[in-house]
C-alpha cells in the first residue's frame, strides 16, 4: 500500500512543513532569549495575522503570499507597541508577564470572534491545487512557497543578528543582560526591538499558514503548542536547534498517517507527546546532545 514514492512524498512534505515551523517557532525563541519570558500572545499574533491576510484578500484581492509580507510592518510595530505599553511594565516578573500575555491572547481571540465570526475560514487561490512534478512526485505549490519564504526570512534574520549592531545587541542581551548593559547596550530598547521582531515572525508564519490550513479564531493555540514543543526540543535558544526541532516535529506529523488505526484528529496531540518525550528523555533538547558530544571530543 505504501510504496517508495509515498514515503518519498512524505519525506519531502516533512522538510517543506519543517521550514515553515522553524520560522513560526523562532519568534518565540527570540523573545525568550532576550526577555526570558514566554510570549503567550504568539498564538494571538498568528491568528490575527491570518485574519488580516484574509481581510486583505477579500477586500482588494491581495494574494495571501504578498499579504503575509505586507502585514509584517503592521505586526512589527504592534509588537513593539504592546511591549512598550504593557509587557515592559511587568517584564521583570515572569509570572506576571505570562498572565498578562495570556490575557492579551484571550482578548485577541474574542475580538476575532466578534469581527470575523467562528466559521472555518480558508483562502483559495489560483494555485491552491497546483502541483509541481519532481521526478514523478507531485508536490503542492502551496507547500513549496511558504517553505522558500521561511528559509529566506530566517536567512535575513540570521544575517541581521550576526552583522548589524542592533542584531548583535539582541544577541548580547540574550547571552548576559547585565554584561550587555555594562557594555552600554540599552537593554530596554533592545527588548522592544526583539519583541517587535518576534511578533513579526509569528505574524509571518500565521499569514503563510493560511495557504495550507483553514482557520478560526482558535487556531493559534495549536500552533503555539507546536512552536513550544519545537523550541524545547531544539534547546530553547539555539538557531540550528530550532530548525532541527521543527524538522523532527513535521516528520513525525507527516509520517503519523502510516500508523494503523490513526485518526487525523489526533495529529495535534503529537506535538504534546513529543514535548513530554523530550522532557523525559532529553531535557536539554537536541542542542544538549551536541554539547555533550563536544565535551567528550575535547
Amino acid at each position: 500500500m505504501y510504496d517508495l514514492s509515498n514515503i518519498a512524498t512524505l519525506a519531502i512534505y516533512s522538510i517543506l512543513t519543517g521550514g515553515l515551523y522553524a520560522a513560526m517557532s523562532y519568534g518565540l525563541a527570540l523573545v525568550y532569549g532576550v526577555m526570558k519570558i514566554i510570549n503567550l500572545a504568539h498564538a494571538a499574533t498568528m491568528m490575527l495575522a491570518a485574519f488580516t491576510v484574509l481581510t486583505f484578500n477579500r477586500w482588494i484581492g491581495l494574494d495571501p503570499i504578498l499579504g503575509s509580507i505586507v502585514v509584517l510592518p503592521i505586526f512589527f510595530f504592534a509588537g513593539m507597541g504592546l511591549y512598550r505599553v504593557a509587557v515592559r511594565r511587568v517584564a521583570a516578573v515572569p509570572v506576571a508577564s505570562l498572565l498578562l500575555l495570556f490575557g492579551v491572547w484571550l482578548v485577541a481571540q474574542n475580538l476575532a470572534y466578534i469581527i470575523w465570526g467562528s466559521e472555518d475560514q480558508s483562502i483559495l487561490t489560483s494555485y491552491t491545487f497546483a502541483t509541481i512534478d519532481v521526478v514523478g512526485i507531485k508536490i503542492a505549490v502551496i507547500r513549496i512557497i511558504p517553505f522558500g519564504l521561511s528559509i529566506v526570512m530566517l536567512a535575513i534574520l540570521r544575517w541581521f543578528l550576526a552583522n548589524t549592531d542592533l542584531g548583535r545587541a539582541i544577541r548580547a542581551v540574550s547571552q548576559d543582560r547585565v554584561a550587555a548593559r555594562l557594555a552600554g547596550i540599552n537593554a530596554d530598547r533592545t527588548a522592544t526591538l526583539a519583541f517587535g521582531i518576534g511578533t513579526m515572525l509569528s505574524a509571518f508564519a500565521g499569514g503563510l499558514l493560511t495557504l495550507i490550513f483553514s482557520f478560526t479564531p482558535n487556531f493559534g493555540g495549536v500552533f503555539q503548542l507546536k512552536s513550544f514543543a519545537i523550541i524545547v526540543l531544539g534547546g530553547l535558544e539555539s538557531f540550528a536547534g530550532v530548525a532541527l526541532g521543527a524538522l523532527v516535529l513535521s516528520t513525525i506529523e507527516q509520517f503519523s498517517i502510516l500508523i494503523p488505526g490513526w485518526r487525523a484528529s489526533l495529529v495535534n496531540l503529537l506535538a504534546f507527546g513529543l514535548l513530554v518525550l523530550t522532557l523525559v528523555v532529553l531535557p536539554g533538547g537536541i542542542a544538549s546532545l551536541f554539547a555533550r558530544r563536544r565535551k567528550v571530543a575535547e
Binding site: 509570572v95 498572565l99 495570556f102 484571550l106 474574542n110 475580538l111 470572534y113 493555540g221 514535548l275 522532557l279
Partner: protein
C-alpha cells in the same frame, strides 16, 4: 481579635454561617443551586492556588483533573451501578493519578515553560476524551441517572468540600510543606541548596490539588446528571481557576475564596446575557490584563492599600519583586538611566 486572625477559626465560622442558609430557607432552590456551584468553584480556586499561588507554578491545564474526576464519577455511577457518593473519593484519586502522570515530566520545566506545557495537558486531555467515545460518550456526552439528592444536600456537600480544601490550604501555609513551596517559588535553586526536594514537593502539591478538583468535579457531574468532554475538559475551566486566583489575590489563603465569590456570579450573568456571552472571554481577558498591570495583588491587594488586610501573596509588581528576580534586573523605567 486573635481568633479572627486564626485561619482555622475564621474559616470554620464562615462555613457554619453559610451552612445555616438551607435551614433558614430550604425552598430557595435557586440560591441553593448557585451556592453549590460557588462552592465547587471555591474548591477549584483553592486547589489551583496550592500549585499556582503557593508554589508559583501557573497551570493552564487543571481542566484535565476536573474532567477526569467528572468522568470517573459519571462512568462508575451510570455504567457500573456504584452509589454516586462512593465514587467521589475514587474521582479524586483518578485525578491524582493524572496529576502524577502529568507532573512527573512537566515539572522538569522551569515555571514559565511549565505553564505553556500545561496548555497542552488540558488540550490533550480534551482530545483524548472526545476520541475515547466508547467510554466517554465522545462528542455527544454522557447522560447520567436522575435520582440525585435534593439541593440542600448538594449545598452542604459542596460547602463541606470547600471547607476541607480551605482548611488543608490553611494548614499547608503554616506547615513546613507550605514554607518549602514558598521557598521554591521565590528561588528554586536556593530552595534546593538548603535541602528542599523541589520536584517531590511540586508533585505533592499538584496531587493534593488534583484530588480536591477531581472530587469537586464528581459532585458537579452528579449535580448536572450530564457530562460532556467540552464542558468538563474545556479550556474555560482551566482559565476560570487562573482568573479566580488573580481576581482574589494570587498566592493568598482567602484570595481564591474571594475570587470565586466574585467570579462565579459575574460569569453566570455574562453567560446568560445574550449580548454579553459573545464577549465573555474579552471581559475576563481584559480584567486579567487590567489586574496584572494595575493591582497584581487582586482584591486582597486592593484591600491592603486601605490597610484592611496585610499585603501578602505572590509578588507580581516589579517593585515588590526585587528580591525574587535579582537574576534579571528590572526591565522597567529605571533601565533608561
Amino acid at each position: 481579635m486573635s481568633l479572627v486572625r486564626n485561619p482555622y477559626v475564621a474559616g470554620l465560622a464562615v462555613a457554619v454561617l453559610a451552612a445555616l442558609y438551607p435551614v433558614v430557607r430550604p425552598d430557595d432552590l435557586t440560591v441553593l443551586g448557585l451556592g453549590f456551584l460557588t462552592f465547587v468553584f471555591i474548591t477549584q480556586a483553592l486547589s489551583w492556588g496550592l500549585v499556582g499561588g503557593y508554589a508559583g507554578q501557573i497551570s493552564f491545564g487543571f481542566a484535565a483533573f476536573f474532567g477526569t474526576g467528572a468522568y470517573t464519577t459519571a462512568i462508575l455511577w451510570s455504567k457500573n451501578g456504584w452509589d454516586p457518593v462512593a465514587t467521589l473519593p475514587v474521582a479524586g484519586v483518578a485525578a491524582m493519578i493524572v496529576a502524577i502522570l502529568v507532573g512527573l515530566p512537566v515539572f522538569r520545566l522551569s515555571a514559565q515553560y511549565f505553564s505553556i506545557a500545561t496548555i497542552g495537558v488540558g488540550e490533550a486531555a480534551r482530545v483524548i476524551a472526545i476520541n475515547l467515545d466508547n467510554i466517554t460518550g465522545g462528542a455527544s456526552g454522557l447522560n447520567l441517572p436522575f435520582n440525585v439528592p435534593d439541593k440542600s444536600w448538594f449545598y452542604w456537600a459542596g460547602l463541606t468540600l470547600a471547607t476541607i480544601t480551605f482548611l488543608v490550604s490553611a494548614w499547608i501555609r503554616r506547615h513546613r510543606f507550605g514554607l518549602a513551596l514558598f521557598a521554591l517559588r521565590m528561588d528554586q535553586s536556593a530552595a534546593e541548596s538548603v535541602g528542599v526536594p523541589t520536584a517531590i514537593f511540586k508533585n505533592l502539591a499538584h496531587c493534593v490539588a488534583a484530588f480536591f478538583v477531581g472530587t469537586a468535579a464528581g459532585l458537579y457531574a452528579m449535580y448536572l446528571s450530564y457530562t460532556h468532554p467540552d464542558q468538563v475538559f474545556g479550556f474555560d475551566i482551566s482559565i476560570g481557576m487562573v482568573l479566580m486566583n488573580v481576581i482574589g489575590g494570587i498566592g493568598t489563603l482567602w484570595g481564591p475564596v474571594l475570587g470565586a465569590i466574585v467570579y462565579f456570579p459575574v460569569r453566570q450573568i455574562v453567560l446568560s446575557d445574550p449580548n454579553l456571552v459573545a464577549v465573555n472571554v474579552l471581559i475576563f481577558g481584559a480584567l486579567l490584563i487590567f489586574i496584572i498591570l494595575f493591582e497584581p495583588g487582586g482584591l486582597l491587594g486592593l484591600l491592603s492599600r486601605f490597610g484592611v488586610v496585610a499585603r501578602g501573596g505572590l509578588r507580581l509588581r516589579p517593585q515588590d519583586a526585587g528580591a525574587i528576580v535579582e537574576l534579571e534586573p528590572a526591565a522597567s523605567a529605571d533601565d533608561e538611566a
